[in-house]
Point group: C2
Chain length 232, copies 2
């Protein structure tokens, strides 16, 4: 039932961009395609790192849970990105949980192929580490944000990040490309769903966003940027 995957799926993604068709064929033949329903875990915090993944379609939230039971969203993965790449950083257990936000199609490779990929395929390692660098930068920005910005600015930043990462242009604005609840946003910004709700209501009154159930459309991005204090 797994229909043969087409090489063209990978040719435009950074880690594979410099590779030849036969090389990409090899890589695809070694992959296991997987389908996930919304709201399930692709891998879980604390489990041993056994595979690495590429998200073909859908969206993934990377979540960390505290001993106290609070959870925060560390990262969003967009289609075309590698994730679960603990292998690249010498990790033996996953430091976080990857949860699907909607229907997801994922390619998986066993971990022991990682070393081979990096040495055999020109540019694979470089491009991958570039992504790591970007994530590092984003985390850094979020720390600065959390440390210096007020709640309203943090929420504005979070929504801006969401639309730059997953945004879809629709008439009347830019829409967040994945289902998202107030609770999700409060998990991203370290505040409460109540406060998020109030902020979104306020912004809707001001004509900056349209907020529906599990969906947010930004109608005046520039004003949101102003509110955010322009960090990220």
């Amino acid at each position: 039932m797994l229909k043969k995957l087409d090489e063209s799926l990978l040719t435009d993604l950074p880690p594979f961009r410099r590779l030849s068709r036969p090389q990409i064929r090899e890589i695809l033949d070694a992959a296991t395609p997987l389908r996930f329903d919304p709201g399930v875990a692709v891998f879980s915090e604390g489990l041993p790192v056994e595979r690495f993944f590429l998200l073909m379609d859908g969206h993934i939230r990377v979540i960390r849970t505290t001993p106290g039971g609070d959870q925060i969203i560390a990262l969003h993965i967009a289609p075309g990105q590698l994730f679960g790449i603990g292998a690249a950083l010498g990790k033996t257990i996953y430091p976080a949980t990857a949860m699907t936000a909607d229907d997801c199609l994922v390619l998986a490779w066993p971990n022991q192929l990682w070393a081979g990929f990096t040495e055999r395929y020109e540019g694979f390692a470089t491009e991958t580490y570039k992504v790591v660098g970007e994530r590092l930068g984003e985390l850094n920005n979020r720390i600065v944000e959390m440390a210096t910005q007020a709640v309203e600015q943090r929420v504005a930043c979070a929504i801006l990040r969401l639309i730059t990462q997953t945004g879809r242009k629709v008439d009347g604005g830019i829409e967040v490309g994945l289902p998202i609840t107030r609770q999700n946003i409060s998990d991203m910004t370290g505040t409460t769903p109540y406060t998020v709700s109030r902020l979104l209501s306020g912004w809707e009154r001001d004509g900056i966003v349209l907020s529906e159930r599990r969906k947010i459309t930004v109608t005046a991005p520039h004003r949101l940027v102003v509110l955010s204090g322009a960090i990220a």
Copy 2:
């Protein structure tokens, strides 16, 4: 005046551990040793990445500054660690400023040697990326911390991190191994020097720490761990 550097300086550091003496000799011969006074910048945010560094002695704070002028301490570098390794992550400009906390001795290499190091020296890349992984993990912890913990817990976490990274055992406790002000701690935790001062005074009354000018000694680490909520 640069006396010849001894190979033994590097043999025990992770990135060089698997290398032979002649290889280490090559690496040392390519290095420029540099001395820095306390409180000066080794490199600055926004400048092009031209060199990478190894801290031989002293301590370095990696600092980010916001458009609003607030600054927060992203990272501390301990002796023996590489820093400014933007090259490894495809960065072309430094994303932060590296500021010396005390007298520092640093080795520097021009950036174009990076690629050669990673391919010529077995284990250099792997070990380096392991460090990157650890820093990534630490940043993640700090985000979780900032999002979920109260100020008191964050400050406790910050001090625990300081003593695990730079701690020196002295009679009566563990002392932070670098000069540190309340302002520094508030920059690490996103609070104010006033609040830090109050917390430290309180802990000193409770016999958990000894706090002097630019120096902190933890006398009851276990109680600080309890206060911290045990995240990092």
